[in-house]
Symmetry: C2
Subunit: 302 residues, 2 copies
Amino acid sequence: MSRRLIAIDWGTSNFRAFLVDRDSGECLDSVRSDAGLKSLSTDEFPHYCEAQVGAWRKGGEVPVYLSGMVGSARGWSEAPQLEVPRSATDLADNVVAAPGLDNAWIVPGLKVVREDHVDVMRGEEIQAFGALALLGLSAGVCCLPGTHSKWARLEGERLIDFSTVMTGELYHAVRFHTLPGEPARGSDAHDADGFAQGLAAADHPAGLMHALFEGRSRHLYAGLGAHQVGSFLSGVLIGAEVLAQREHLLDHQGAVVLVGSSSLNPLYRQALERQGIRVEEVDSDNATLAGLVALAERHRAG
Amino acid sequence: MSRRLIAIDWGTSNFRAFLVDRDSGECLDSVRSDAGLKSLSTDEFPHYCEAQVGAWRKGGEVPVYLSGMVGSARGWSEAPQLEVPRSATDLADNVVAAPGLDNAWIVPGLKVVREDHVDVMRGEEIQAFGALALLGLSAGVCCLPGTHSKWARLEGERLIDFSTVMTGELYHAVRFHTLPGEPARGSDAHDADGFAQGLAAADHPAGLMHALFEGRSRHLYAGLGAHQVGSFLSGVLIGAEVLAQREHLLDHQGAVVLVGSSSLNPLYRQALERQGIRVEEVDSDNATLAGLVALAERHRAG
């Protein structure tokens, strides 16, 4: 059995593949492209994948593990979404062979279906397991920021509950499709003061939909510059996300494992620390690699 | 002095004019069009206004009072936004003569500028004063639903505080520009069950940005039909608005004067009563008329 594997995070708008040494967890090579799901038709998936990572596969000897929206109905082939609580072993037991490519496996997602909470996840479960493995933890709360941020609680090496917060997507919708976002259409450059004002406004007792409107009223009457409005809106949304989750998933335990990109992690760290929450940071690519390595060790066919 | 007046509510996307008997408050005639501010250039305002209501004006003998965004920098002529607290008399003392049309007056708006709250209003202050006048009240909390909903607290015949909630605009942005809104792009027909589910989801401890995402997860895994998604999202947003304001402006006093259209009032009544808030309803057009009549009585030039 090869002591290498190929880890692929394939989402709606991008493709990232890593050749990994299973023993050290080290990334030996990587390739990225913007060929997300939405730019491919179903029968193109195996060909595109082979074209990107064929040189690493050694004719199928090196296994490929794929996580993310690639396992959705709009992806390569649908993998189940298992109901929580689930462990990395449960995920390994339910991988789906990717049609048209030998020794390639699509990882299942997770879901919550309760009367008062329905939720779905694909890809972040791998990152959450990977992040805790990297930190040597078997329990914790992970914040995985993004278009649809995920907050996941893990206990006893199982992911027991999670919730999705559509922060990134709402930022885009507000910035490009509402009146308060108008001055921010052009540029997305970070403004530290605007962002800090937004974080503070997120605490407003009139709620998120009021705080966003202050992007307009402060621009008119309180000196918030046009170049600050985008960061203000971002601060309101990230601040509101953290505020709600502090009550919901954190139960005031006051610590979170932050699993994001180098661009989002600093913003979330600022928002979390402002609420008195202790942060341990893990890069999201490293978390994906560690999670898929951990899954592969539990995969009997691997 | 004529015992009639012409009341005009002129907003970003529509124009509504009413010929009113000042003594009875009765509406004698009305005209509506979709010639909002954004469809006119500055020098077209007096001509458009004269074309619509010239027959009622009797050569300028009957005064015209205009409220709404017509008094903004993008409107006919900018009227001030006075800082709260303010009475109807304060508004009357600060009307601005509309350039190019004799005996026509633009009503000022209101603003709040505090360190922790900055807000603006144009038009709803008139409706709030009018609604309380129609009910014979000198104090109360008004909810004025719309693209940018306003919640206003009045005491001793003065509007003392208010906040804006961008519910209607966010509904549009989520429905047309996010993934959860995708099944709702086509139709806006009301679905009672979807709306009720949305109101309940608005209470979710993970907050508004999670509750909106349940529009997607419930569509995937909990039987929420494509035709129900729009009403679900509407229920989440209106529910979240009411929930936040119950804490903020209402101080649990448990009663609100609802000043909206015949299409929005029933939805807000349902959301308010669900939270145990008592509702008195006033049609928003009637509130505009009553408010402008009350202002005209206080206007020395009128």
